[in-house]
């Protein structure tokens, strides 16, 4: 057993008071000369035994009352293992400080985190007089990725210094994640018999107590219940916001920065969009958004920002230099600076590059599919190599190109097929057109590979009718995917339904969701099919471009539109690889020939970090750089607290190859951008976003988690509103016992005294 207020145990000496009163009572008496002593002695003899018993019972009850009172106010609790009654308290304090980025909110001289640190400092000072070497302190930083900041310390001075050094993280708040870590730490507490005091300093941000879904909400409630009912554990909550602060602090922020273009090059303007959101109740008539490219201010735009609303600011910019670039959008500072910036890392090309392989060179050459295609792409300012014959196509220099086009190619060697797969897997675009040269069996074997290859479907046979059959049935596009970039523009252009097709390759084992357009033949045969392969994309056109099978598509505006839209789409690479969120891991794959034993990552807050790379195997043509480290292969475990293996801070990350000798310079390989949440501008994400500073009332926490027992700072030692004592609340039972003793004493005193009246 232990006591929350062991000093008050001295009140147990009050148990001597009834004895002292009894003795004093016997000392104070009157003297009477008495004649009828014989009767008195007889009466005494008759009642003495009973009187002694009654007096003893009353005396014991009164002693018990005093002792029970002393024990009750000393707040006893049960320990797992019995220890001495007056042993030192042996308390393990868990100081949990919310350092999510909302704690950087500053309205006045101090941030919320400053207030939290001050409160924690006061607490440590208050602990100081009673803190013994048996007591321990663990400091935990609360966020979506909580961490044990000071583990199991026994020196208050070092804890104070550590607390003073806490800085805001770039994480969101998640008390579900924090309590998982806390519960683990409490469970691991070295001595199970220790008392545990949990002190949580937070700005009580509502989003920190929200759950992603019902399952998580249920687990959260169970977790809080479990922690509350842990033996000898008491939880205190400290509101680290200024007294009298509004429940929803003013805040606005940038929640998105994105580009419209699939391909960003130096030849055309790139359109940037910056999404702003205002969580506060105040509307801003004009918010200025500044754009910076590679650190230089390049433009600005203004927008009104109504209360509880979002706005998007658009800005166009033409890059002058190809290569990696880093774009920043910044709005006017408010009370929370961290979410006033947004970053975007881009790779700018000088122009698109395409390699065309012509499987059926025609004479004259302009009658071949490849030539028609080349003609079309030329108008798109695409740098085209070829057409080359399949024999000339080595597939060795595919990395120089953004798109590879295979027109009516009979077959591919195994080596070439593998190289093409590799090219696509790493983000390249592949456009395939069919024709009478195509060797169905070879393609299925080497390119389809039972669905494992890049071919979107298994080639079956040639459908439709050849020119010998007259009248020749014509087919049209029956349906197409209007949302796909290749067909999106038809809202303003000629309809693809006018295109006429006579022959096409029939496919099987096609993913219906991957079909972009189908013909109106009886089988509704796919005409355009897409397959995403690795980081790249493949689009298969099941017919020809020249007049072999169709109505010579080269002259058709609709087909031209499709090709113009499709090519940049195929060439585009997912910006997600370079534009990351907090906790993501940077992964960058490079050809083996660019290997270097070490690279440097220039980080926004931690300076330059060296990355050592293992030499790739001799047969490996690629190697991958991970930062901060390769992601763990362990599957997420619901029982384990969330651990951030990825980026910790938002900002610009630059991957640099250090110079190999004094004469060369460091080479910038790529930029990476890490942004704060949210990932998207979806309303539910915005409301749960850390930028939403709406507070949650402690009473609402109690209502939502009725089994979560905690004290709120300022409530002092008052019991929580819906308290039901666990094992740490024996004092309540003692109070009940005290009331029982008092009632019993009153009754017995009346009952025994009844005879005296």
């Amino acid at each position: 057993m232990g006591f929350f207020n062991p000093g008050l145990l001295w009140f147990a000496l009050g148990g001597a008071i009834p004895v002292i009163i009894h003795l004093l009572h016997r000392q104070k008496y009157r003297r009477v000369r008495w004649a009828a002593m014989e009767f008195l002695l007889a009466a005494l003899k008759k009642t003495q035994r009973r009187l002694r018993l009654e007096n003893l019972i009353l005396l014991l009850l009164r002693i018990l009352i005093m002792i029970a009172l002393a024990f009750a106010i000393s707040r006893p609790f049960l320990r797992a293992a019995p220890i001495g009654l007056l042993e030192d308290s042996n308390t393990h304090h868990f100081i949990v400080i919310d350092n999510s980025y909302s704690m950087a909110f500053k309205k006045g001289p101090k941030t919320h985190l400053d207030l939290a640190r001050e409160e924690a400092d006061k607490l440590i000072d208050a602990l100081s007089p009673r803190f013994s070497e048996n007591d321990k302190i663990t400091v935990i930083l609360a966020s979506a990725y909580p961490e044990v900041y000071v583990p199991y310390a026994s020196k208050l001075k070092s804890v104070k210094e550590a607390v003073a050094a806490i800085r805001p993280s770039h994480y969101s708040t998640s008390f579900y994640a924090t309590f998982r870590l806390l519960e683990e730490q409490v469970r691991k507490s070295e001595k199970a018999s220790l008392e545990k005091r949990i002190h949580i300093f937070t700005d009580l941000q509502r989003c920190g107590w929200e759950s992603v879904d019902d399952i998580e909400a249920k687990r959260f409630a169970e977790l809080l219940k479990k922690l509350s009912s842990t033996t000898n554990t008491r939880i205190s909550l400290y509101d680290a916001t200024p007294k009298g602060a509004r429940d929803a602090a003013d805040n606005r922020g940038l929640v998105g920065l994105w580009v419209e273009n699939g391909i960003i090059d130096t030849r055309s303007f790139t359109t940037f969009h910056a999404d702003l959101y205002n969580w506060s109740a105040v509307s801003y008539p004009s918010v200025k958004v500044q754009f910076l490219v590679d650190g230089s201010h390049v433009g600005a735009a203004d927008t009104p920002l109504p209360s509880q609303s979002g706005m998007t600011v658009t800005w166009r910019y033409r890059f002058h230099e190809p290569g990696p670039h880093f774009v920043e959008a910044v709005i006017d500072s408010d009370n929370l600076d961290l979410d006033d910036r947004r970053y975007l890392a881009l790779d700018v090309k000088s122009s698109l590059s395409a390699l065309i392989v012509d499987g059926k060179p025609a004479s004259p050459p302009e009658h071949s599919d490849a030539d028609y295609l080349r003609w079309m792409l030329n108008s798109l300012d695409v740098a085209i190599q070829g057409p080359v014959t399949p024999e000339m196509f080595t597939a060795d220099d595919l990395d120089k190109h953004d798109v590879l086009v295979l027109c009516n190619v009979q077959s591919l060697s195994q080596d070439k097929a593998a190289k093409i797969e590799d090219f696509v897997r790493r983000g390249g675009g592949l456009f395939l057109t069919m024709g009478d040269r195509v060797d169905r069996a070879a393609w299925n074997e080497l390119v389809y590979r039972d669905g494992q290859g890049v071919l979107p479907g298994k080639l079956v046979d040639i459908g439709g009718s050849s020119p010998e059959f007259q009248p020749r049935p014509a087919y049209h596009i029956k349906k197409y995917s209007g949302r796909h970039p290749a067909f999106r523009t038809f809202g303003n252009g000629p309809s693809p339904f006018s295109l006429v097709f006579y022959q096409f390759f029939r496919l099987e084992k096609v993913d219906p969701d991957a079909v972009l357009a189908v013909l109106d033949d009886p089988a509704n045969s796919p005409l355009f099919i897409e397959k995403k392969f690795g980081e790249g994309k493949v689009v298969l056109y099941t017919s020809t471009i020249n007049a072999d099978w169709d109505d010579r598509m080269a002259g058709k505006g609709a087909f031209f539109t499709i090709v113009l839209s499709l090519t940049p789409y195929l060439a585009s690479k997912s910006p997600g690889l370079k534009n990351l969120q907090i906790a993501d891991v940077i992964q960058h794959t490079m050809p083996a020939e660019k290997y270097s034993p070490s690279f440097v990552m220039d980080t926004p807050t931690e300076g330059q970090q060296s990355i050592d790379i293992k030499r790739p195997a001799p047969d490996s043509k690629w190697f991958t750089i991970f930062y901060p480290s390769a992601p763990s292969k362990l599957k997420p475990d619901d029982g384990r607290p969330a651990v951030n293996e990825g980026l910790r801070f938002a900002g610009r990350y630059a991957l640099i190859r250090p110079r190999s000798d004094a004469t060369t310079q460091d080479a910038l390989i790529s930029y990476f951008a890490a942004n704060l949440p949210p990932r998207s501008s979806a309303p539910e994400e915005l409301s749960r976003c850390e930028g939403n500073l709406e507070k949650i009332n402690p009473d609402e926490i109690r209502r939502r988690f009725p089994d979560f027992k905690f004290y709120l700072s300022g409530e002092g030692e008052q019991a929580p509103a819906s308290e039901t004592p666990g094992s740490s609340l024996i004092w309540k039972y003692l109070l009940y016992a005290l009331c029982g003793f008092l009632g019993l004493e009153t009754f017995l005193a009346w009952f025994f005294g009844r005879a005296k009246q």
Binding site: R33, A36, A43, K46, L51
Partner: protein, 300 residues
């Protein structure tokens, strides 16, 4: 204490008593011009009247002279006024020295004794006084002379409560000394063993003494009203006792009640008058009540 010496002839008390006709329960031998009838009809010297013979009458009282003159049988009757010989036995043991109010039990007992002596002497009867504790301390023989009252009062004035009681022994001794029939008035708190006490009283009855017992008790002895912790310092060599009187009250009162009930029952069984007089009650009313009750018995 000297200033508070009671007036034994309290006019108020005596006035009330004299309005009552004290009639002795038994006709004792002796004669005074009073109202006491002799139980010895036909034995005395003073002729009273004749009455016709009825079967069963003793033939020795036949008046043969009247039979010779009138040939009728008459019985001669005599009426003898006797002189009551009474003794007042006053308990002067230490226990009689207790009094919760203005007077002690002994003072009350003296007042009773003086009142009774005065009453008896006014009726021309003889009265004596005996004071005792564990033994007889003074003995004034029964007499009806003019100076007898002074002698009685002198003895009462000299009475001091000092020693332990031994009622039964003293009563046995006195019973042996009272050879003639008479009246014995015992004034005591009777704090003795009830069995032995009742045997001693039976001894008086056996010696043909009419016995009146005035059981004198203090108010506190019958109510035991103590509240606070009290050290009871026992008289008559009893030890000191520190007790919470409230806790003992009920048991004490039961003991007292049991004792009084036993004495009362013993007195009734032995045709002894018993009157309990407590210090809190007015003596005149108590004596008047007792004497009126005795008269109401109508057996004399």
């Amino acid at each position: 204490m000297a200033d508070k010496k009671p007036n034994f002839l309290d006019p108020k008390v005596l006035n009330k008593i004299t309005r009552l006709d004290l009639k002795a329960r038994h006709i004792v031998e002796g004669f005074v011009a009073g109202m006491h009838k002799s139980p010895y009809h036909g034995f005395s010297v003073e002729f009273a009247e004749h009455r016709e013979y009825t079967p069963g009458d003793d033939l020795k009282h036949l008046d043969w002279k009247v039979f010779g003159r009138s040939d009728r049988l008459f019985i001669k009757e005599y009426e003898l006024e006797t002189n009551l010989r009474s003794h007042i036995l006053l308990d002067c043991s230490e226990s009689m020295d207790y009094g919760s109010g203005d007077s002690t039990k002994l003072e009350l007992a003296c007042l009773i004794a003086a009142s009774m002596a005065h009453l008896i002497l006014r009726q021309q009867d003889a009265v004596g006084i005996v004071t005792f504790d564990k033994e007889v301390r003074s003995f004034i023989p029964s007499h009806s002379g003019k100076g007898q009252m002074n002698a009685v009062l002198g003895t009462l004035g000299g009475a001091k409560a000092e020693n332990k009681t031994d009622l039964s022994t003293v009563f046995h001794q006195l019973a042996e000394r009272f050879t003639r029939k008479g009246l014995v008035i015992i004034i005591s708190d009777l704090f003795d063993d009830p069995d032995r006490l009742l045997k001693a009283l039976q001894h008086f009855r056996h010696r043909r003494q009419d016995v009146i017992v005035f059981h004198v008790l203090d108010e506190y002895e019958v109510t035991f009203p103590f509240q606070r912790m009290t050290m009871f310092e026992g008289l008559e060599e009893y030890p000191k006792l520190l007790v919470d009187p409230r806790a003992l009250r009920q048991a004490y009162l039961e003991e007292v009640d049991r004792f009084v009930s036993r004495i009362k029952r013993g007195c009734v069984l032995n045709s002894i008058d018993y009157a309990q007089i407590t210090t809190d009650r007015p003596l005149d009313i108590e004596l008047t009540k007792y004497l009126a009750g005795r008269l109401a018995l109508g057996r004399w």
